[in-house]
């Protein structure tokens, strides 16, 4: 369909007049509309038109004042006048994995992350499922990198000292017809190189997961599905990158770029202006804005929020396997932008359920809302009716970063030769990251070499990052030995998750220099249990102060300005 025809269709369906123009890469939309979901739907109509072009959606939401981007509350010259071969923008899974793969080469690499820790965006707020890729379309980057990435998981997690559990997944069927139709899924999986996908019968699934016995008629078994802690993997990538010479600069936001001809020459940050031979855009929900800074805007990110719920480990009626509801006859005929989520047993043996998918105008809207919690719970508890809402101990929301084409963009820009985009990364982004990071590193290295740089693989590259000690998972004998070598490992600070002072000190002294309460939480789980930090938060705060030599009231929960306390007692003026 021609884009003029689509514009006419849009006007008929939504009553919105859309300004449309196009160049060789994109269809560019403009106009105004008073409903955000309509704006997103319009963008999708153009993306799905089969033009092969990206969509830049500039339709604005009437009356909406965009929230100012959260920027670090610091301005200094820490990075001023430094020269880098590669500047990686963004410390999510993409940026950290890319930086680590790039650190195999003899390059000077800077990674800029605007928050006080890595994995603060979608990489830190998703369910951690390592997808098999059974529901992905043929011939797309998601499938290509998703399947390749999945296969790399065992090795990469071993190298980086991150727990990974290839637990498999069961998609539950409640209709015999759907079960029959699933044969095509099995066939497609085989064609896509997804190993071992089979259909199992009612008896078998009910033996494996008795919680589904009242309604299951069978299940699709997907053995290559796994689970990982997405933030621990991101942290591990970043730490291994640092080990291999990458400079990770936290609290560092990219504010602009200077160009020399068609190339980016300088990157402007709140910590100073740096030069870059090549820039890799891994900016997640801000990837389109980074592209715009380089005058290279050819796609638009439309933020899509997802909420996950975490159940108490002692809750009754928990399932023991990763399960999700298969399609129903109704849902099978409607396309949807999520795979519908599911129930996951995390690497820490928590039961996590979700997520949903809500289009939101604010890229950093990680607030939770009751309607999402209710709908996620209602939807997912369908395949495990014994779950109880009052046994939810935590919930969180993350914002995905899809493009309108709903595929990953992993390429060097056609217009700005020294800018590589890693954009539109959403599910299965965690799964795909190990695979696309290798390609991105290669694209970048080849480009630098083509410009005459002497790019070599470093002989002393160390792929191994030592796993942090987790005392509670050791045998009694090993734990005893550990405590005898350092008594701090016998002093339990977080009672719910059994985290010792030794582990907390180790987390505080991390290679990235993250000294926040939530940083400790992400690394060793202190505060993640059922009391949610009620008991250990003051102790963790105090330990950070002791270890880093700052005042207790200077310790932050996360970013600069998120101080746990506002000052000392006796010094408080109203």
């Amino acid at each position: 369909m021609s884009i003029e025809k689509i514009a006419a269709k849009v006007e008929k369906r939504y009553g919105v007049r859309v300004g449309v123009c196009q160049d060789d890469r994109s269809i560019i939309l403009s106009g105004e509309c008073n409903d955000w979901n309509t704006i997103v739907a319009i963008g999708k109509m153009f993306a799905d038109a089969g033009t092969g072009k990206h969509v830049v959606n500039k339709i604005t939401l009437a009356g909406y004042v965009e929230k100012a981007e959260r920027l670090p509350a610091i301005r200094d010259g820490a990075l001023d006048n430094t020269d880098w071969d590669v500047v990686v923008i963004g410390g999510g899974i993409s940026g950290c994995a890319v930086a680590r793969e790039l650190s195999r080469y003899n390059l000077r690499i800077l990674l800029c992350e605007k928050h006080s820790d890595v994995a603060r965006g979608a990489s830190g707020a998703n369910d951690g499922m390592v997808h098999a890729g059974i529901d992905l379309k043929h011939r797309c980057n998601k499938l290509r990198y998703g399947v390749a990435g999945n296969a790399m998981y065992g090795d990469i997690c071993r190298e980086l000292g991150v727990e990974f559990n290839r637990c498999g997944q069961y998609v539950i069927f409640t209709s015999k017809l759907i079960k029959f139709l699933a044969k095509s899924t099995v066939k497609r999986a085989r064609k896509h190189g997804i190993p071992g996908v089979t259909i199992i019968g009612k008896k078998q699934i009910c033996e494996i997961e008795p919680r589904v016995k009242d309604f299951a008629v069978g299940a699709l078994y997907v053995p290559s599905t796994g689970v990982v802690s997405p933030y621990k993997l991101t942290i591990a990538y970043a730490e291994n990158a640092v080990q291999n010479g990458v400079k990770v600069s936290l609290d560092t936001a990219v504010l602009g770029m200077k160009k020399d001809g068609d190339k980016v020459s300088e990157v402007i940050t709140n910590r100073g202006t740096v030069t870059a031979k090549c820039v890799v855009n891994c900016a997640g929900v801000f990837a389109d804005e980074i592209a715009q800074m380089a005058d290279d805007e050819y796609f638009t990110i439309h933020p899509r929020k997802g909420t996950d719920l975490l159940m108490d480990t002692n809750a009754s009626g928990l399932p023991t396997h990763c399960i999700s509801m298969g399609p129903t006859l109704k849902s099978a005929t409607h396309s949807s932008s999520t795979k519908g989520g599911g129930i996951i047993i995390t690497v820490d043996d928590n039961v996590l359920i979700g997520p949903d998918a809500i289009e939101v105008p604010d890229r950093e809207d990680t607030s939770t809302v009751q309607s999402s919690i209710d709908s996620v719970f209602q939807r997912q508890s369908a395949c495990c009716p014994s779950l109880r809402k009052n046994e939810i101990i935590a919930y969180f929301a993350g914002v995905r970063a899809p493009t309108y084409e709903e595929d990953f963009i992993i390429e060097r820009s056609a217009k700005v030769p020294n800018l590589v985009h890693v954009a539109g990364i959403q599910s299965p982004g965690i799964t795909a990251a190990p695979a696309f990071a290798k390609d991105v590193a290669q694209i970048t290295a080849e480009y630098l070499a083509s410009c005459g740089a002497d790019v070599q693989l470093k002989p002393d590259f160390d792929p191994v990052r030592k796993a942090p000690v987790c005392a509670k998972k050791l045998s009694d004998a090993d734990r005893d030995k550990l405590i005898r070598s350092d008594p701090d490992f016998g002093k339990i600070i977080c009672r719910c998750e059994q985290v010792s002072l030794g582990e907390i000190k180790q987390a505080i002294n991390n290679p990235l220099g993250v000294h926040t309460v939530d940083g400790v939480k992400r690394r060793v789980r202190a505060g993640m249990g059922r009391c949610q930090g009620g008991f250990c938060m003051p102790l963790v705060t105090q330990t950070i102060a002791n270890q880093t030599g700052v005042e207790v009231s200077d310790v932050t929960k996360d970013d600069i300005g998120s101080n746990i306390a506002v000052g000392k007692i006796k010094e408080c003026n109203r």
């Binding site: 005893d480 002093k491 105090q542 007692i569």
Partner: protein
């Protein structure tokens, strides 16, 4: 070889201290007290306000002073104390129970005949009551806020909203005011206050802090620190009423929204819990339905006064040294009772001084409480006023009452 104790007490707060002291007073009984934190005293360590010990000592002590009396007494006994020690495993074994705990000296294994669980309680969290919104700093449970102020000496905020009129919420309203913070108000979802009447007066009225009933916090806003909260009125089922939202600017939200008995270890030992108290089901000796496992203090049910916490610790400690073959009869509740403890009576042990604690489910006046056995009244008392926040205590003498097949009923009804 693991070291063997007759009794292991888990938890060195007021209940555990009392239990260990009492148990050690029987000649020749070996007792180990395992405490998770670096010092004894439990939550009393951070409760620097007064009002502790009025029932027991007839004077108003601070939390640390109250604890100190027991800690000093404990030092005179032969109780072995292991501090900064965390039980990782508990199970039945050949010699009663096998217990594994970690401390600075390594992984320790001991065996014992009896276990007394005095593990206290924990606070309900923001997530448990579904306060949605941003994930900023400045939202703390009352206990955490109390720790920040009284132990670490820092202020959790300068403009404070308190949700929940439970005692710790009220105490913190006063404490933060005394330290110079502005407490904007205490909000309570229920139509009646949750804390003791004396605390409403001493902590709120005396400091002109408003108490807003039938109101709750429904959302929090803030990028780094808390910036404001959304307050909603709630209906009689405590559901927020749409359209009643107002925004209150503040930098700190303190949550005093309830306490839950800590029963991780009880669970591990297969101890059945009471859905009403969230603690173990026990007989009048604080023995749970798992033989040899006792529970006391706030781990058993949330008490209003520490004096009763100590009392139940003593009951457990005193009973655990005796050998008994139990015969249990259930206690059935009727009428507007939130709960009553004990939930069972052991017919084979002393029934001359059965201490029973109960709470009414609503604010009630002119009530009669009747304990009857097989239809015959064994005890009765009239209450002019009953408030759910105030726990009631009665002593029953059931000697000579035939309990063998008679049903024991506790009934609360209009006079």
């Amino acid at each position: 070889m693991s070291k063997h104790y007759q009794i292991v007490v888990v938890g060195g707060g007021p209940a555990g201290l009392a239990a260990a002291i009492k148990a050690s007073q029987s000649a020749g009984v070996s007792v180990l007290l395992i405490e998770r934190e670096a010092r004894l005293g439990g939550i009393l360590k951070q409760c620097i306000h007064d009002g502790f010990g009025v029932v027991r000592f007839g004077e108003k002590l601070s939390g640390p002073e109250y604890a100190e009396r027991f800690i000093k007494q404990l030092a005179q006994t032969g109780v072995t104390v292991s501090l900064f020690s965390y039980v990782t495993r508990m199970r039945r074994g050949d010699k009663g129970f096998d217990i594994t705990y970690v401390c600075k000296d390594g992984v320790q294994n001991v065996t014992c005949d009896k276990i007394i669980l005095a593990t206290g309680c924990r606070e309900r969290t923001r997530n448990a009551i579904f306060i949605n919104g941003d994930r900023c700093a400045g939202v703390y449970t009352a206990g955490a806020a109390q720790n920040l102020v009284n132990i670490l000496g820092v202020m959790p905020g300068k403009r404070v909203v308190i949700l929940g009129s439970g005692d710790i919420g009220l105490i913190m309203a006063r404490r933060l005011t005394l330290e110079g913070a502005k407490v904007i108000g205490v909000y309570e979802a229920k139509p009646t206050p949750s804390g003791l009447t004396r605390n409403i007066h001493q902590c709120l009225h005396d400091f002109d802090i408003p108490l807003h009933l039938s109101s709750t916090v429904t959302r929090v806003f803030g990028t780094n620190r808390l910036e404001s909260v959304e307050i909603s009125k709630v209906d009689d089922k405590m559901r927020p009423i749409e359209g009643t939202q107002t925004t209150v600017e503040c930098d700190c939200l303190v949550l005093a929204v309830g306490l839950i008995p800590e029963n991780e270890l009880a669970r591990e030992l297969g101890v059945p819990l009471d859905n009403r108290t969230k603690g173990a089901i026990v007989d009048q000796n604080c023995q749970t339905l798992a033989d040899g496992v006792y529970a006391c203090g706030n781990a058993l049910h949330v008490n209003d006064l520490v004096d009763y916490v100590s009392e139940s610790g003593e009951t457990a400690g005193g009973a655990a040294v005796a050998e008994s073959k139990r015969k249990l009869v259930p206690v059935t509740l009727q009428g507007k009772l939130l709960y009553a403890v004990p939930q069972r009576l052991d017919v084979n042990s002393d029934l001359s001084k059965v201490i029973m604690y109960f709470r009414a489910s609503d604010e009630l006046s002119q009530q009669r409480l009747t304990v009857s056995v097989g239809g015959k009244t064994a005890f009765t008392k009239v209450y002019n006023k009953l408030l759910p926040p105030e726990m009631e205590r009665i002593t029953l003498d059931l000697t000579g009452v035939d309990l063998t097949d008679g049903e024991v009923t506790v009934k609360l009804e209009d006079k």
